[in-house]
């Protein structure tokens, strides 16, 4: 549970929203006044989803108990969900497999 103040959270939402909108608007607004995206920037932008999402997801299953632990229910459920995600690329199947395995492990432990 957060202890950040509601005022700070409003500011964060506002800045995140404005910043995101400016990114979306960037080339649409600037067209004609700027060259295309440089090749290196394009390569970085293409890789962002893979890098950032992988960096978010891994600690949430390897450190599910707060410290490094590969024997938690969440790690096992996460690995199985990862296999389902890899094979099916389906959001619902991934959530279903991960939650299903987690509930099963919690029920039998």
């Amino acid at each position: 549970m957060t202890t950040l103040s509601p005022t700070l959270i409003w500011i964060l939402l506002g800045v995140a929203g404005l910043g995101t909108w400016l990114i979306r608007l960037s080339f649409i607004a600037l067209l004609g006044r700027t060259a295309a995206i440089p090749d290196l920037a394009m390569r970085i932008l293409r890789l962002i989803p893979a890098a950032v999402l992988a960096a978010i997801v891994t600690p949430s299953i390897t450190h599910a108990s707060g410290s490094f632990d590969l024997t938690t229910d969440r790690f096992v459920a996460g690995v199985i969900a990862g296999l389902v995600a890899w094979r099916t690329k389906n959001v619902l199947a991934t959530i279903g497999a991960g939650m299903g395995v987690l509930w099963l492990l919690q029920a039998i432990s």
Binding site: T20, I23, L47, A54, L92
Partner: protein, 230 residues
């Protein structure tokens, strides 16, 4: 896209082309709403994230970091890094948007998403139509997703406080990221980026201010870019 949608008027065609994708967006929005309530945001703020930020992965990561009391600068940087890819969509859509009024450019930009961009760019490539029809098609797809996101996250906020803790529904958040990461891994460079970022994130998990995510993402990007040069 099928023939029927190519022939029908553009706004409904955009909506119908994105409709199958919306089935997967709904649970994602539901989880975003529930996660915001579980992170300790009050109901109004938990919902307000959806119209204000209107982003999937970035919104979820932001809520997660707020729940862990991360440093404000880290929260903002994380959102902007995750959403930086939309500059790519902005550049790709810019030619189709060039003659629109500033107002249309403003709200047309606000509703850019991975999904509506993807269906629109395919349509622009295959169907020869006026810029105004292209914008209608894009809006049909984008507003379909926008409305779905608002309704599903609002539903998540409403049921959020009523979900028992034993259900461990917070685990749905990493599962959503799991479902998103694999389609993003398309070639050698993105595989190297993802593997480097994943292992670095585990190694740097105890960095202060939740900086581990940004450091690990940065290392993954560097590794991926170096690899893609060869």
């Amino acid at each position: 896209m099928n023939q029927a949608s190519a022939k029908s008027s553009p706004f409904p065609a955009g909506f119908f082309d994105i409709a199958p994708i919306l089935v997967g967006v709904f649970p994602f929005g539901l989880i975003a709403g529930i996660a915001a309530v579980e992170a300790g945001l009050d109901s109004i703020q938990a919902y307000a994230a959806s119209p204000i930020v209107f982003a999937g992965a970035a919104q979820l990561a932001m809520i997660d970091l707020i729940g862990r009391d991360a440093a404000p600068i880290v929260i903002i940087a994380t959102v902007l890094v995750i959403n930086a890819r939309m500059a790519m969509y902005s550049a790709a859509l810019a030619p189709a948007f060039r003659e629109l009024s500033p107002l249309r450019k403003a709200y047309g930009s606000y509703v850019i998403t991975d999904q509506s961009f993807a269906v629109s760019i395919i349509r622009f490539d295959r169907v020869d139509e006026t810029l105004s029809d292209r914008f209608s098609y894009y809006l049909g797809a984008s507003l379909g997703l926008w409305v779905t996101w608002q309704i599903s996250s609002l539903a998540g906020v409403i049921i959020g406080s009523g979900v028992p803790e034993e259900w461990s529904l917070d685990f749905a958040v990493p599962l959503v990221f799991m479902a998103l990461v694999f389609p993003a891994i398309k070639d050698r460079a993105s595989t190297i980026a993802a593997v480097t970022a994943a292992t670095s994130a585990v190694a740097f998990v105890s960095l202060p201010l939740n900086l581990g995510l940004l450091v690990a993402s940065g290392l993954g990007l560097v590794a991926g870019v170096i690899w893609s040069r060869e």
